[in-house]
Amino acid sequence: MADFDKIQLPSSGLAEDILAQFIDKAQTEVDQVRIVEQKEQNDTIFHLVTFQLGREEYGIEISSVQEIIRATDITPVPGAPEHVRGVINLRGKIIPVVDLRTRFSLPQAEASDAQRIVVVELKEKRLGMLVDSVSQVIKIPSGVVEEMPEEAISVDENFIKGVGKLDSRLIIILDLNRSLLLT
């Protein structure tokens, strides 16, 4: 009934005219859906949070990032895997923090004020990632992202989803599950 209200009865009062209005309306709706679909197909956009680790810039999808906090007070956990720096207290919950430098076999860095913990949620798990500094939030179209050529990826490096090329920058886009050794 509700739809009927939007149809104005034509002065002619002919049934054909009323029907024509219905058809017009339906066509507009169909067209709209088509436009949205096309948009999604053409420009997939990577919405990334980027951070610095050593000399490179890395990016992870913003949808898995919960928050970014200052890197203070990481309590070491004896016996934990090597790539785990320790645990932090995030509003009463104890969450593990992965040292991405250790994970990617980079040399240890001096502690600095710029260090941050990027808290991500994956597979119902909440983990922190210790990074040198957080750079920015950017959107890059999939067109400028190149998948890593198969032969360039050794088994250890399959945590890389692709490389985004922007002007003079290269952003290494990470596969989080693999980066954090979540299987």
Partner: protein, 573 residues
């Protein structure tokens, strides 16, 4: 309206509820049988029984489990016949209801694994028909002198009472309570920072009245949060009865099968303990009770020959003892023969013959907790073989508890399990090791001492100290956790800890005092953490690891210790 309601979401709830009703039915039937044996017919119990069946029938119908509904309907009308005195009670009737409980339970288990499964109760229905037929015949013969009409009208009134029953309880999922407890834990922590803040204020602010008002407010918050926490802890408490009751059936069935006469008695079954403990205690108790039923209590003839009452007595008891709960399983059976255990241990290669000779009687009993020890050579359906006391001990130890055994040959055996009241909040001794703060559960701390560094000796690769003429193996926690070593000292702090029958000393850098801590499980992302059982958030928001005493002790060399400390004086903590 949509004609079909998707009930699949409700199945879990239905099953949970249904199993509760079946448990209640079982309890009521057992009680009814007991009363009946004493010559009393308990109408109230019958009403209760009918109430449970009726609800279950209704729910099953709603969920579309028609066979369940029909079966229960038949049970119900049969029971109504009993209530209206048309059908006399007999042991056959009880047997029928026990098998009904079993059938329903296994039916629900099948629904749980596959909700689409079709249940078939035709066998049960058949036996129900048979017995109601024969009982009715009997009833008809036994006499109609009783004015049936009077009983009928009375029954009609009572029959409806269960429908109007009001419930004063509320089902809340455990996770919700757990979350509440977490939040209160946070509150307690924040309140600690309030105290720290107050100290700083005292230095800066000179307005005494203001300081006092602040102090009062902070005190009140402290009191309220403590009360709140206690109230929530209470809400998590359940009487141990619910665990004890599960064994009624096991013992009853077993005594019938084996021809032994066993009376299961409860003491202190109203004792309440935290759900975390209730959940874990069932399995160790099951092993102990199976043991008692199979090996402890003798057959009727054997008991008569020994001049004992023909009915064996199995007592399950529970009581509070300061911060612990003590649960005991005691039988008046044949007891344990130390010599036989000794021989068996030697034969199994668990200890050397000369070692066995010098063990005291109670030390010998402790051999039973060694893995792979089982005194009985027979394999029975109830207790199986091989699994048993070592498993029991492992579970109890993992709960920060202790287990003791005492036995009097010919008179019986008693197992005593001592557990902390809750597994969520513990009092801990806070210590500093390698610059980090660790929490050692106080339940496992026997004492803390200060010794000269040169009192530490190395014996066969293990560091030991001589504590009141007993050798105590020690472990340096900084080394164990691979933390940075603090420089050499003249004096060392040693925290003497115990877990089960094991004792050991943990060398720490500093003692920081006692504190109540909320245990938080660590994410399994961290993998297996030897020597760490969890984490906790301290008052200042920092995290400290909780020391897993039993895992550290089990890694220690124990050849001498096992012998020397088996009987060392009981904990004084």
């Amino acid at each position: 309206m949509d004609g079909v309601i998707d009930v699949s979401l409700l199945i879990e709830e239905y099953l949970d509820d249904a199993n509760g009703h079946v448990d209640a039915v079982e309890v009521a039937v057992m009680e009814l049988e007991k009363r009946w044996n004493e010559g009393v017919m308990d109408d109230a119990l019958l009403t209760l029984l009918l109430g449970n069946l009726h609800t279950l029938k209704g729910n099953s119908g709603m969920m579309g489990f028609t066979p369940v509904q029909q079966y229960i309907h038949r049970l119900e009308s049969f029971l109504k016949g009993v209530q209206e005195s048309a059908i006399p009670l007999s042991s056959g009737v009880f047997e029928l209801f026990y098998s009904a409980v079993t059938a329903l339970r296994s039916g629900f288990a099948r629904i749980a694994s596959d909700p689409k499964t079709t249940l078939d109760f035709s066998d049960e229905l058949m036996s129900l028909e048979l017995i109601s037929y024969s009982q009715e015949m009997e009833g008809a013969e036994a006499g109609r002198e009783e004015p049936a009409i009077k009983a009928l009208s009375k029954a009609k009134v009572e029959e409806l009472s269960y429908i109007t029953q009001k419930s004063s309880t509320l089902k809340v999922s455990f996770e919700k309570l757990d979350e509440l407890l977490n939040l209160v834990g946070e509150l307690v922590i924040h309140r600690t920072s309030l105290v720290a803040l107050e100290k700083r204020l005292q230095e800066k602010v000179s307005d005494r009245a203001l300081l006092e008002a602040f102090n009062e407010a902070s005190q009140l918050i402290g009191k309220s949060s403590t009360d709140l926490r206690e109230a929530i802890m209470k809400a998590r408490m359940l009487p141990i009865k619910s665990v004890f009751q599960r064994f009624q059936r096991l013992v009853r069935d077993h005594s019938q099968k084996s021809g032994k006469e066993i009376l299961l008695r409860f003491e202190g079954e109203e004792t309440e303990l935290d759900k975390t403990v209730i959940d874990e205690i069932g399995e160790p108790l099951l092993h102990l009770i199976r043991n008692a039923v199979d090996h402890g209590i003798e057959s009727v003839e054997e008991r008569r020959r020994a001049g004992k009452a023909s009915t064996g007595l199995l007592t399950l008891s529970a009581c509070h003892e300061s911060n612990h709960i003590v649960i005991a399983v005691e039988d008046d059976g044949r007891g344990m023969d130390p010599d036989r255990i000794r021989r068996s241990a030697v034969a199994k290669g668990l200890i050397a013959e000369d070692e066995a000779g010098v063990l005291s009687a109670s030390e010998v009993l402790n051999l039973l907790f060694l893995p792979g020890f089982s005194t009985s050579s027979e394999v029975t359906e109830t207790s199986g073989r091989g699994i048993g006391l070592d498993v029991v001990k492992k579970i109890v130890t993992s709960l920060n508890g202790m287990i003791d055994i005492s036995s009097d040959p010919g008179r019986g055996t008693r197992f005593t399990i001592k557990l902390p009241l809750t597994l969520a909040i513990i009092t801990a001794l806070m210590v500093e090791v390698g610059g980090e703060i660790f929490a050692i559960p106080l339940s496992g701390v026997l004492e803390s001492i200060r010794i000269q560094t040169d009192e530490i000796h190395e014996v066969g690769g293990t560091e030991v100290i001589n504590l009141r003429d007993q050798l105590l193996p020690i472990r340096r926690l900084d080394g164990f956790y691979k933390l940075k070593k603090v420089e050499e000292r003249d004096m060392e702090y040693v925290v003497v800890v115990g877990s089960g029958e094991k004792r050991g000393g943990l060398v720490v850098d500093r003692l920081l005092g006692q504190q109540e801590i909320v245990i938080k499980a660590l994410d399994d992302y961290l993998g297996d953490l030897p020597g760490i059982s969890g984490g906790t958030v301290l008052g200042d928001g920092s995290i400290s690891m909780i020391v897993d005493i039993s895992s550290i002790l089990s890694g220690m060399k124990s050849v001498t210790k096992e012998r020397t400390f088996v009987n060392s004086d009981k904990r004084s903590a």
